[in-house]
């Protein structure tokens, strides 16, 4: 394991270990966004469906997911299949180091579903907050439904959801740490391994710097977007 000959070397070694974990954190973060954002759009559309059974089921699903801890959802998705089918999930899977990759996929799945539900509610709010008058103005000017949506409504929806999306995505940065509970070797996992194996505790706190920098970056990104779109509104 790590010999840690001097403090400086310690620091460098720990930083490298954490950075490796951070790679997984980033993968989880971006893959969650890539899958959850389009899925959320679908969820939002379904939850607004005029066909009642569809919108009711969709809303109930979103309600359940938002009303239960992500931690519980992670456990269910990663461990329940193994329990139900009487075999550990590891039986079928490819390993990454000594951790089955299926754990990562399971965790990703839980994150995607969970965040899609949160995003869907934000999208729904953003769409429903557009005054009816905007649609009517487009209609009387002879615009088609798709022209109305893409040329007039969409940008207003984006502007509406920017702030809540920013908040939710910063929460996702921090929530990625939950993946460690299902043996995904993200950054927090790496830090707890250093504690378990090498008996050094400070890397645990050091992870805070990574999270903080990352959140700051995400926040800055959203601030820029809001500035860009903000000039059109009082």
């Amino acid at each position: 394991m790590l010999p840690f000959p001097n403090k400086m070397q310690d620091f460098i070694n720990v930083t490298i270990k954490l950075a490796e974990g951070f790679g997984t954190t980033l993968a989880l973060f971006f893959l969650t966004l890539v899958f959850a954002l389009p899925l959320a759009l679908l969820f939002a559309v379904l939850s607004r469906s005029r066909f009642k059974p569809v919108s009711l089921i969709m809303r109930a699903f979103i309600y359940i997911i938002r009303g239960t801890p992500l931690l519980l959802q992670l456990m269910i998705i990663v461990y329940l299949p193994g329990i139900v089918f009487g075999a550990p999930i590891t039986k079928w899977t490819v390993f990454h180091g000594n951790v089955p990759l299926s754990y990562f996929c399971g965790a990703l799945f839980a994150f995607v579903i969970n965040y899609a539900c949160y995003f869907a509610e934000i999208f729904r709010g953003g769409i429903e907050n557009i005054p009816k008058g905007q649609y009517e103005a487009c209609a009387v000017l002879g615009m088609t439904k798709s022209e109305t949506f893409f040329r007039v409504i969409l940008l207003q929806v984006i502007r509406n959801i920017l702030a809540p999306m920013g908040n939710e995505i910063v929460t996702l940065v921090k929530d990625t740490a939950l993946a460690r509970t299902v043996a995904v070797t993200e950054m927090f996992f790496a830090a707890s391994e250093l504690l378990r194996v090498n008996f050094i505790i400070w890397p645990l706190f050091y992870t805070g710097v990574f999270y903080l920098l990352f959140s700051a970056l995400v926040t800055a990104f959203f601030n820029v977007c809001e500035k860009k779109l903000g000039r059109y509104y009082k």
Binding site: P131, G133, Q134, E136, A137, C138, A139, V140, L141, G142, M143, T144, E147, R151, V152, L155, Q156, R159, L229, R231, Y232, Y233, K234
Partner: protein
């Protein structure tokens, strides 16, 4: 031959009969005011004319050309509606400008989309220039030439409403409809909007104006309709309506206003 004729327009919302059979006709260059207390169906009538609502029954024609017939499903198709509503311009109480676009773009957007939809091979650059010119000249006419690059949020309510009027005029509708265009404005701003409408009348624009401004209705309209409970209770010249009302409800409506 009347420019617009509507016959037997009926509209229910669930169990509420909101329009119970409205007949009206409008000549080219005529200004028709619609008055009546809140809930009498004025807005619904305008919305049926420009197909924001679809009437349950009735016939609407422009220059004797039927653009809606409640008994024929053909007139409920999106294609028919898109075509029919372009005869009407609409100015809303809340302006409903597009906040993300400049004043000029508010004017040109729909005109451009409509043109490109019908002429796939149009020269976009040339079209833009033409529409920009048209927008500029409309904006000068309403005294907002210097605001064309501003965004709606940078304008007063009265200025926004004038832009909304210009936006409707961009599509050269046969009939311009107003639904209480000044009721969100304070008296000073109301004046500037009413002046624009008056100027439009002097240029022979055909208009239907739902309004609470009785002085305006009296001074600017050629004809006035008083609606009560989903029906036309009384109609006539402004003098007949305001100075010599026949129906008791109109009498008390006018008395209340004074």
């Amino acid at each position: 031959m009347a420019l617009l004729s509507a016959k037997g327009i009926k509209k229910d919302f669930g169990d509420t009969k909101v329009l119970k059979g409205i007949d009206l006709s409008l000549d080219k260059g005529e200004v028709l005011s619609i008055i009546g207390s809140s809930g009498s169906g004025k807005t619904t009538l305008l919305r049926c004319l420009n197909f924001l609502e679809t009437a349950d029954e009735g016939i609407i024609s422009i220059n004797d050309d039927v653009i809606f017939d409640g008994s024929d499903p053909v007139f409920r198709t999106e294609k028919s509606i898109l075509k029919g509503r372009l005869h009407f311009g609409m100015v809303f109480q809340q302006y409903n400008l597009f906040p993300q676009y400049s004043v000029k773009r508010n004017l040109t957007l729909a005109a451009e989309l409509n043109h490109l939809r019908n002429n796939k091979n149009a020269d976009k650059k040339k079209l833009r220039e033409e529409l920009d010119d048209k927008a500029s000249s409309l904006l000068s006419r309403i005294g907002l030439a210097d605001k064309q690059d501003n965004f709606p949020c940078e304008l007063s309510g009265g200025q926004q409403q004038r832009v909304a009027i210009a936006r409707a005029l961009m599509l050269t509708p046969d009939i311009l409809c107003f639904d209480e265009p000044t009721s969100a404005l304070d008296p000073e701003l109301t004046k500037e909007v009413l002046k624009v409408i008056k100027d439009l009348k002097d240029e022979d624009t055909t208009m239907i104006v739902v309004t609470h401004e009785m002085n305006f209705a009296r001074n600017v309209s050629d004809n006035v309709i008083f609606m009560y409970n989903g029906k036309i209770e009384e109609q006539g010249s402004p003098e007949a309506i305001f100075d010599d009302p026949k129906s008791p409800v109109l009498k008390s409506f006018i008395a209340d206003d004074k």
